[in-house]
């Protein structure tokens, strides 16, 4: 088995696979991507899958557009569809505060050339048969927004990377990152095999800080529980492919799912997890299953004005997963000081599906010393100074970033 590479990427989720694809596209040399589990099998298969184009934070629209571009490129490269569902989105305002947010979003979208229009209550009702349109003051429709199966997208990045020469090693757990004189030397696997490379990219998602700790580095994020509920199928009420919604006044989003409705809700105090408690596979991790009903109980009253019968709606499934949240809700992409050759791409803040392609591109450009397509300063890993991601206080700061999130 090969022992020497130019770049090793740890993590076969959306961010690791997108980075591998972007590096391979740039002929970055011999690249190895490893994951302790199957590719696309962990947090990246538990996402809500929204590809919201319009963003109010600087640089994010460019990053999301890059993901859309990647999807098109990969479909062409592989000759297969990644099943992007262009359903459109509707952002709903029912208060002065959310109206201001919608106006800001509207301006950002228009500035970036994203089609958008305010639609009437009648049109809203037509597009969203389940909603009580009387509760809607303003509805901003963006017809080119889409959703995509996150596991399929992640596999698409991985397959495209492999086609361009990246070696994929699933079910291969990394024990540690090896350094020498503050330079990256490679990695050691759990069977003590050493694989050498001058560049290592830590894209291990929720587990990333466990690999950084022996190096004395803390990445400024922690895993925070994200979750959504899926109703029983009712094709007439929740027609497949109807627009997804973002409802800031209800701290909610919704999207269609083959005749059912996916409902994402954000509790007032989000739950952070100490990375030390993570299991090797998320199916063995206790996200606190009681939250399925306690959080729905807390959040349902806010959504009830739009979805009257939420109390009696049959809930067929519940999905929880870890989103890696950063105190300022910006991603973490770039070189990790003080180690030469150590990089990270993490801290998805619930946006890994929409932003993965762009995050991978920025990581690749920084690794290869190319001109970055967005300003990398705001994503710099060291921007908070020294942090201890294992401290409850820091984890709370990260959880608050999700609690205070405005969008979907």
């Amino acid at each position: 088995m090969e022992k020497n590479y130019d770049i090793i990427i740890i993590g076969g989720g959306l961010l690791g696979c997108a980075t591998a694809y972007q590096l391979a596209k740039r002929n970055a040399g011999k690249i190895l991507l490893l994951d302790g589990n199957e590719i696309a099998s962990q947090a990246s298969s538990r996402a809500a899958c929204l590809l919201t184009r319009a963003r109010t934070k600087p640089g994010l629209m460019e990053i999301v557009q890059e993901t859309y571009d990647c999807i098109e490129e990969i479909e062409h490269l592989l000759g297969e569809s990644l099943e992007l569902q262009q359903c459109g989105s509707i952002t709903i305002a029912s208060s002065e505060a959310s109206l201001k947010e919608v106006e800001t979003l509207e301006n950002a979208a228009t500035r970036f050339g994203i089609p958008n229009e305010r639609i009437t209550r009648e049109r809203t009702q037509e597009l969203l048969p389940w909603i009580d349109a009387e509760a809607v003051d303003v509805a901003l429709y963006m017809p080119t927004d889409a959703f995509i199966d996150s596991a399929l997208l992640c596999s698409g990045y991985a397959k495209a990377a492999a086609k361009l020469g990246v070696e994929l090693r699933p079910n291969c757990k990394v024990k540690e990152i090896v350094t020498a004189d503050r330079k990256i030397a490679g990695i050691k696997l759990c069977d003590d095999e050493v694989v050498s490379a001058p560049v290592v990219v830590n894209a291990a998602g929720a587990w990333a800080n466990l690999l950084m700790r022996p190096l004395g580095v803390g990445l400024p994020f922690t895993p925070v529980r994200s979750h959504f509920w899926i109703t029983e199928i009712d094709k007439k009420r929740f027609p497949a492919g109807h627009p997804f919604t973002v409802i800031p006044d209800a701290r909610a989003f919704t999207r269609s799912d083959v005749g059912a409705l996916i409902i994402g809700l954000r509790e007032s105090h989000c739950q952070a997890f100490n990375p030390d408690t993570l299991t090797e596979k998320l199916e063995d991790f206790d996200f606190n299953k009681a939250a399925k009903w306690t959080v729905l109980d807390e959040c349902a009253p806010l959504l009830k004005r739009y979805l009257h019968d939420i109390d009696d709606l049959p809930i067929a499934h519940y999905m929880s997963g870890p989103s890696c949240y950063v105190p300022d809700a910006f991603f973490i992409i770039g070189a990790v000081k003080p180690y030469e050759g150590l990089y990270t791409v993490t801290g998805c803040c619930g946006g890994g599906v929409a932003a993965g392609g762009g995050m991978g591109r920025l990581a690749a450009e920084l690794i290869l010393g190319e001109q970055p397509f967005v300003d990398p300063i705001r994503f710099a890993p060291e921007r908070f100074g020294e942090v201890n991601p294992f401290s409850p206080e820091f984890q709370q700061r990260c959880a608050d970033a999700r609690s205070n999130k405005k969008g979907g």
Binding site: E232, W293, I310, D311, P314, I315, A316
Partner: protein
């Protein structure tokens, strides 16, 4: 008033469950848990029938304090009341001792028409408890139930699967039925059901409440002795074939072995 009693078991949610090296029993506290899937279908069958007959549905579980979760789920899904059979004295009971405890609980509950069990639990895989309870109570039992077709004051007409055949029978009540996922579809739970369930009391009974002698129950009274456990080792002999000729020859050797 008619009464249906449904038995539900808390089982590990994952197949990665540790075995206690001393007792050889499952280390239940170490794993995420769920309600045994077949038991939910038993509950659904009881709830569906009760809508037609007006029967009271009583959910019963035997296990540690955490087994209250499965009873809350039963209440959320529509059970009228719930009873948790919990005591350190019950720990380690095999199917025989478990059936003894459940039969005692049924006697304490009083009159009943039907006992609903899941066909088997996904942790033990024995499918013995329901039939053993019927034996303890000396009542008829219907395994592999496929449908309850008719209910009268003292009888039910049911069909059950027997291999590829369906057997229809009339059985005197009270009796026990064993239900599995082939029996129907589960209704999804609701938030209002959860709220209702949170407000309900769960009755707790120990061996004292059931008038059971401690020497008859638990690990040491159980006639089943687990001497050891091992994960079966499955090996596959794989040979890569080069070219269609070799593939064709192998297929031909299966189709015409004498050639």
């Amino acid at each position: 008033m008619k009464r249906y009693i449904v038995f539900l078991k808390q089982v590990p949610a994952s197949t990665k469950v540790g075995i206690d090296p001393v007792t050889k029993t499952l280390k239940r506290s170490s794993a995420l848990t769920q309600t045994n899937p077949d038991d939910l279908y038993a509950l659904q069958a009881a709830l569906d029938l009760s809508r037609a007959t007006g029967a009271e549905v009583v959910a019963v579980s035997m296990g540690p304090a955490s087994a209250e979760e499965v009873l809350r789920e039963a209440l959320q899904r529509g059970a009228d009341r719930a009873i948790l059979l919990s005591s350190p004295a019950f720990a380690g009971s095999d199917t025989w001792c478990t059936s003894l405890v459940l039969a005692s609980a049924i006697r304490r509950i009083g009159e009943y028409d039907l006992l609903f069990f899941g066909r088997m639990a996904i942790d033990g895989d024995t499918a013995q408890v329901g039939p053993e309870v019927a034996g303890q109570l000396d009542i008829p039992q219907i395994t592999c139930l496929s449908a309850i077709e008719n209910v009268s004051a003292d009888r039910i007409c049911v069909s059950r699967r027997v291999g590829n055949l369906t057997q229809r029978m009339e059985v005197k009540t009270p009796c026990a039925v064993m239900v599995s996922r082939e029996n129907g579809e589960l209704a999804s739970p609701t938030l209002s059901g959860w709220r209702r369930a949170q407000a309900q009391e769960i009755t707790r009974w120990s061996e004292t409440d059931l008038g059971l002698d401690r020497s008859l129950i638990g690990l040491y009274a159980s006639p089943t002795k687990v001497v050891t456990t091992a994960v079966p080792q499955v090996t596959k002999n794989i040979r890569w074939l080069d070219g269609g000729g070799e593939v064709f020859a192998i297929i031909q050797s299966f189709v015409q072995p004498s050639c």
